[in-house]
Symmetry: C2
Subunit: 519 residues, 2 copies
């Protein structure tokens, strides 16, 4: 056991994960990379080998050389509509392939269909976000090997640095051509950006594109060029459009949440970043979207234009782009139909890879240029540590997403959340799991006001200068915590066993926390 | 000494190049790659290290860690207007850096300014195309170490496979932002596609962008993302627009060349590839452009549309795109103003990297999908071997370009050339240097007709079937050679010494020929 920089006991060896001695979280920017980037197997497809088009997923699995014990990667740009993970794993099972390491960017509810394959041993290990039912299974001890959670930037870092070497990457392709050029912009399963798949295409030993919209060569525009893609398979459907994109994303109408959004935008307005050229990421949650709406008003009032909006992009950002309030959008995944339409037609709407978005180990990810990010969290503590992975009962139900990356990159990281969810407090003295360390969280905004990390005296000063209708109601963290305790009453400690069922990596590959099996 | 597959004596060791025993050309598709792709040094630019903008080229050289003996790379998208190579090498010389390996994609007449730095030892070695004056210097023995010539696809292959590891890549950036995002589409030095720079950005240990058009972050569209770029330098000018792009490229008006173009298009029309979806590359030469013009007529007459045009793109191809006769353009370098304007605005005009264009060691370069390519050559021989590197006097004056790659990839490779240039025959019994082996050359077209490689009996048959106004005048190679001999009279053999001053690699990294010093 050793205690890492956020005070967590980390065993020196974690069964099914490895030694942690040189991998203890030591601070948000402490780990310096060494050595060179990894490389996938060199292939040489000549003009005679142009026949990439195979007749089905089983044929592609056979051609890829996939064997028991290997690592297969998937990407969540089809979100809860994805049919690709299920079809591929079903085929592996039929072919007698076992002990796979599943390396998805994220799994969703739709993927509960693979639970039988976990139980039967086709899948032995999962490295990736497990949202929902698979997380529940894991939390209850349903996998022998701990799940490894990485952020959107930590995952490409692991691939680029060789921490994870992908044997076969399966890429869901809303549009593809016979040479394996891929785009997410068009087709019946259009999803917009396919940012999570780029790095795997570049670094895997074999890449299979699975499409339900095969178009004549060459498609245009092309997101991932066929020079990285070994095989193309056409299937009837790669996903359910209803699960891929929301029709519209909605701003919250809940007065409590609107109040929180109002406070968050007051904080932004009072900050030194509220000026021409400001940039922000607000995601698709109800509160963040409401912040976007308030920011729009504020920007118009002050005649300010934003330089770019980042992240998962929604129709709200597209509206800002069209109205000239935001100059560019940098999009790693497109959340709704408006975002999908926009990225397909507007050159100011830039598709970026997850590496480009958030990898801490390149020459500067987009998050580094971010002024403001609005995030959520299951809970935060009096050290400003944030937990997004486990629920109040200790169950591992959520992936890290871009939480760590944007928090580390942005100049102003805001966690905006009601103080209670039901009877459960969101502010505590010690979060159950640390996803993101307090050193990169600047403010917590609740319905009771704005709580600024004491580390950011500059922000506290800036807020105190804002007067009258711009005044920012400040609440010290101890007061906020006391209020939460009073409102929620005494909380039972989470009942958990000893066995580690999840490892939470910080974006640089160090272990920031572990998750134990539910009792 | 050993004799390679095109009958050339290759020493088993070439001073300044290395052993060739396992690197003898053995056939166009004989060499199978092993192992994994190379990787550049992993860097970690955090939000605090966002200051990529340096005050000058010397500062960037110092920051890059460039030292004597290292390898520096450059790219020729500014062609004969490039100021970047000169500025960087001047600065290296001033800083006392010596013994550099220069790894440009190509050098042009404008680069004769670096000749003093070759003579003084700042540059010890050149791996890259040497067009014109530097070629002349090398041919006369002006460098101690042989020049290594690689094709547009062979060069990224060398980088990706680790044959060449780049210490510092300097990229001329017609537009850049503070984060090092780069585009060639806009700015006073706009050049369109910057396809040659992509692979170096991905694989070099350090990347410096040099721009004369620094724009607010983020620019859009972005060709090379800043995640690969360590430093950005703003200078007054990176190039002379007059040397970067031609105002217009012109079809030849010479009746002899028009006749050759006419014959070439008859051959294409008679071939099995002349159907809906045909694809072609015709480059920027006078005859190939005339072929494009004839092809346009033929396509309109037969109601045929091409799927894509490839390569260096000219206004002629842009016209075909606009008129709907070509569906897409795949552009590695944009030759004229119309091409630059088109790639900046038309999403059907796709920018591709040299790796994507032509590398034999990936999952299928664009050349593999090519139906027809029209090429030139200094000379071809009765085995259909082509020489584009050396002139009639044996001087090494030209780079390989995409000659090898398109010839190997296309289904129909045509070399179209007058039989004589001045008094010098273009058809001989043995070319002075082999650039491209006869096994991938299908036809030679001269003012005397169409000469088909006997290996392609299917093409000969197809031509014989064409009758009347579509008839293709066929001339056997022996007859063509006899005619050339008769017209030119006896030729003096090239006077050359023993010392090897150039190594011509086939695109797979094997040695297809060597070039010796002029006597």
């Amino acid at each position: 056991m050793a205690i890492n920089a956020v005070g967590r006991d980390i065993p020196s060896h974690i069964e099914g994960y490895g030694d942690t001695t040189n991998r203890l979280f030591a601070g948000a920017f402490a780990r310096i990379p060494e050595g060179n980037r990894d490389g996938g197997k060199i292939r040489a497809h000549g003009p005679k080998e142009n026949g990439k088009l195979l007749s089905g997923i089983r044929e592609a699995i056979a051609a890829s050389g996939l064997k028991s014990g290997m690592t297969v990667s998937f990407h969540h740009h089809l979100r809860n509509g994805d049919y690709v993970v299920g079809q591929v794993i079903d085929a592996c099972a039929e072919m007698g392939i076992r002990d796979l390491t599943l390396f998805p960017t994220a799994l969703f509810g739709v993927h509960k269909a693979i639970i039988p394959h976990i139980k039967s041993g086709v899948i032995r290990r999962i490295m990736g976000s497990v949202n929902g039912p698979i997380g529940q299974l894991v939390s209850e001890g349903g996998m022998e090997v701990p799940v490894v959670l990485r952020s959107h930037g930590g995952r490409p870092r692991a691939v680029v640095s060789g921490d994870v070497h992908i044997d076969v990457a399966f890429i869901a392709a809303p549009t593809a051509d016979r040479a394996g050029n891929i785009s997410g912009r068009e087709g019946k399963s259009a999803c917009g950006a396919i940012g999570y798949a780029f790095t795997d295409a570049q670094y895997a030993d074999c890449v299979v594109a699975i499409t339900d919209n095969l178009q004549p060569y060459p498609i245009a525009p092309i997101s991932i060029p066929g020079i990285y893609v070994d095989y193309v398979v056409q299937v009837e459907s790669i996903g359910d459009p209803a699960g891929i994109v929301s029709g519209t994303t909605r701003v919250t109408r809940d007065p409590l949440r609107l109040l929180i959004a109002k406070y968050a935008s007051k904080l932004i307005e009072a900050s030194p970043y509220f000026m021409d050229g400001i940039s922000f990421q607000t995601g698709a949650g109800g509160i963040p979207l409401a912040v976007t709406a308030y920011m729009k008003e504020a920007m118009m009032r002050h005649d300010i234009r934003a330089s770019f909006g980042l992240g998962g992009i929604t129709g709200y950002f597209v509206e800002l782009l069209r109205e000239g309030l935001v100059e560019k959008l940098m999009d790693v995944q497109s959340f709704d139909l408006d975002a999908v339409k926009s990225i397909a037609t507007d050159p100011r709407h830039i598709e970026i890879s997850a590496d480009w978005y958030a990898n801490p180990w390149n020459c500067g990810a987009a998050v580094n240029s971010l002024d403001v990010v609005i995030l959520g969290a299951t809970e935060v503590d009096t050290d400003f540590n944030a937990n997004v992975n486990t629920e109040a009962d200790g169950a591992l139900l959520h992936g890290t997403g871009g939480h760590q990356d944007t928090a580390a990159g942005a100049k102003l990281t805001i966690i905006a959340q009601p103080l209670l969810r039901g009877r459960i407090p969101c502010v505590t003295d010690r979060v159950h799991s640390v996803t993101t360390p307090g050193e990169v969280v600047d403010a917590i905004v609740t319905e009771f006001g704005v709580t600024i990390n004491p580390r950011r005296q500059d922000l506290i000063d800036a807020c105190k200068e804002a007067k009258g209708k711009d005044a920012v109601p400040l609440v010290p963290i101890d007061e906020l915590y006391a209020r939460a305790r009073k409102m929620s009453g005494p909380m039972e400690p989470v009942a958990q066993g000893d066995r580690i069922i999840g490892v939470i990596e910080w974006r640089d590959g160090t272990v920031i926390d572990v998750v134990r099996q539910l009792a």
